[in-house]
Symmetry: C2
């Protein structure tokens, strides 16, 4: 029967939604002492690898400037990141962790270590999970692009 497919679909999208949601909730608890939100922490993780422009940050996090600009302003007001116009191209804004931002990132990442077992504790390998999630990401992005093109 073709009617079996929609039910499965619903189940998978729910499972994905729920797992991601539960993960965010756990991080929220870890981040509470630092009064950081999960998106703020993710931005700091990217910046910990080095300076980024707003656009590069958006590419890595799948966020646009409408989300990042206020988020970065809050981090800047707290002294965790610095923003400055590029000298060569006045359009681009370069964002980087401050010294305090770097030390906060180190503290939080250490504290978040307790969440790692929750990903691998399921009896499967971490590598397998990463491969599956990566494949889903790629497939969904390709599909979304197709759908946009068809519209």
């Amino acid at each position: 029967m073709t009617t079996a497919t929609p039910a499965l679909d619903d189940f998978v999208c729910f499972a994905m939604y729920t797992a991601s949601h539960a993960t965010t909730q756990a991080y929220r608890e870890v981040l509470k002492p630092w009064k950081l939100t999960y998106p703020q922490y993710l931005a700091m993780v990217v910046l910990a690898a080095g300076e980024r422009t707003v656009g590069e940050l958006g590419d890595q996090l799948n966020l646009d400037s409408g989300t990042l600009s206020p988020l970065l302003r809050r981090l800047e007001q707290r002294g965790l990141v610095g923003r400055r116009r590029d000298g060569a191209d006045e359009r681009v804004v370069r964002v980087a962790l401050t010294e305090e931002g770097a030390s906060v990132h180190a503290e939080v990442t250490a504290a978040a270590g307790c969440l790692v077992p929750a990903f691998v504790d399921s009896g499967r390998s971490l590598a397998d999970l990463l491969a599956q999630l990566g494949a889903i990401t790629e497939n969904m992005r390709a599909l979304a692009a197709d759908l946009r093109a068809a519209a």
Copy 2:
């Protein structure tokens, strides 16, 4: 070295965040013709299985009334769901799909069938993925509860 753990952690939480995000984007494209958001569709999927109180809906979606009340009001204004006070217990509000809501749900779910292969196309079994996501959900919820209790 213990410093290897945080890097892995960052990778997994990113992979999860990104896969969930990409899935939402794909659904957004599918839902566009009906002007429905992904959370609105998920609520309709739950309601398609039968009438629910606001609290039951929140339990299944991990959302509280602060999110559901306005969401349901919008669906009600469009005539897709109906809300009514329970006769026996005046506190509870029962929500159900209208006839139009049911037919819209059927149309959308059929259209969303094209997204199913993106979950299984990765060479792994769907059952495995569901098991992993389920385990992660359970582990993360337990951890979040522990962290809340410790605070």
